[in-house]
Symmetry: C2
Subunit: 298 residues, 2 copies
């Protein structure tokens, strides 16, 4: 396990390690977080974007690009929110084995799953080929800058060396504090408590949307801290919706910025529900559905 | 000011920023910390090593290599320990202005100066051209991973972007805690207290050396947490001394590993006095001078 300063740094470290292992092209899901693509592009690697469908990253499209490694978010596609299906996982692992490629599993939102058992990690299916990346940014705070990479033994030296070259090591005090929090059971209790709280928020959001803007279908609701609202073919476009909401003082976020390739872009809105403080959540929710109700009246 | 995960990360961030500004070759003092050279070499920059003399980095040797930036340790040359002289500072700044080059001042050991007023920062002489780097690794703990870069306004965007691409940001909790420690005056009190304590250790070390191994001249003693023992031309070589001490259970450190270019290598030993706990210092000192006394008898 290599501890890093947030997944953002883990990504830089992994890209530098992959380069030292001879990889020159890496694949990333499209959509993904633009900052992750930029961080990878700032290393000597070439980044190719691979579209996703309802089952996860499209392995057929991946194979045609012949990357040496692929970054995937199997637990909760970042941003669209579906879990990668068992069939797609099997196809992905088969591709990686055939191509001699490395997979990096960003266990995005893996801890906050509401409606069924946690989805298993891809890493468990092929620990020799999959690097697992977890983070405390969603469970505790992004300002903590603590993430961890579980690295197959034959890749460990390269990753440790890349970490050493990038910043030596991560802060000891935060690591020791988190270790203590985990060992004491406090971390698990915190996640269980927050999972209930976030599930309640999600339920309130989904119910309010059904009542006030039923034309917007929320998806990706089984896990995480945001839902995706796919836009109906009639009514305002993504950009129009964002602009209208801004005039009403509501900061809506479109899906557009998360796509590298405009051809992959599915119009939609990203609605996070993790950030408002507990006492302000219902007020924030009301402002949101007010403006969505104006845009897509019942 | 850009806060980084230790100077090691600051160095990576600066190298990436310098590259984005069109710099392709950077100069570093020889000797310096090997890990710093490796970290810079792991970026797309070419690193050239420039010898130092008793006044600091040799600006004549620097100029012939035409780098776009130079890393220097003016407060306390890392490792030899002399302060860069006023004349050499002026020559360095003149070179940088003529060459359009950027200087990076690693304020190595700047806080622990014992025998006279603190040496001024190079950055104060040309704030538009010098990036100042400070760290809490010596004053508090290396495990804290907190360093700071004071960046001229016209370079700030590039450095901030490189930091963003490298790991997003540094941990908020440690930064807030340190800020509080500084504002409360506790940090200054801590440095004053530790300065006295380290000065006492240094005095004990210098006195014990004079008594037990007077052939070894300690230098670089005006500041920092180590002294350099230059080896006399007679007696054991650096490698022989390290090997002999190891057989006696004393881990001596030679100067050799700190030189990039064997031609610059001045034989010597690096003796740190910051690490032993207070109650163990005199025992450690006795073991050290016992073995040095065997190697260079009075």
């Amino acid at each position: 396990v290599v501890v890093c300063g947030g997944f953002a740094q883990g990504l830089t470290v992994l890209c530098r390690a992959l380069r030292s292992l001879g990889v020159s092209v890496v694949a990333m899901e499209d959509p993904w977080v633009p900052a992750h693509r930029s961080a990878a592009s700032a290393t000597p690697l070439t980044v190719v974007s691979v579209p996703v469908d309802g089952e996860g990253m499209r392995v057929d499209a991946l194979a045609t690009r012949s990357p040496g490694a692929a970054f995937v978010t199997p637990a909760h596609q970042c941003m669209l929110g579906m879990a990668m299906t068992p069939g797609r996982r099997a196809a992905l692992l088969r591709w990686a084995a055939d191509a001699g490629a490395i997979l990096v599993e960003d266990d995005y939102d893996g801890e906050f799953r509401y409606d069924r058992q946690p989805v298993g990690a891809l890493q468990g299916l092929d620990p020799e080929r999959v690097i697992y990346a977890g983070t405390a940014s969603k469970t505790l705070a992004p300002g903590l800058r603590l993430a961890w990479l579980v690295v197959p033994p034959q890749l460990a030296d390269a990753v440790v060396e890349a970490k050493r070259l990038t910043d030596g090591l991560s802060g000891a005090l935060d690591q020791l504090t988190l270790a203590d929090f985990i060992e004491s059971g406090g971390f698990d209790r915190h996640i269980r408590r927050m999972r209930l709280r976030y599930m309640r928020r999600r339920d309130l959001l989904v119910a309010a949307l059904a009542e006030r803007a039923p034309a917007l279908r929320p998806s990706g609701i089984a896990a995480g801290l945001h839902v995706i609202l796919s836009l109906p073919s009639h009514g305002p476009t993504e950009d129009e919706a964002v602009a209208h909401a801004a005039r009403r003082g509501v900061a809506l976020l479109g899906l557009g910025p998360f796509f590298a390739d405009r051809d992959n872009h599915v119009p939609g809105l990203v609605v996070g529900y993790g950030t408002p403080p507990e006492h302000g959540f219902e007020t924030a929710l009301r402002s949101l559905v007010d403006v969505l109700g104006e845009l897509w009246p019942v």
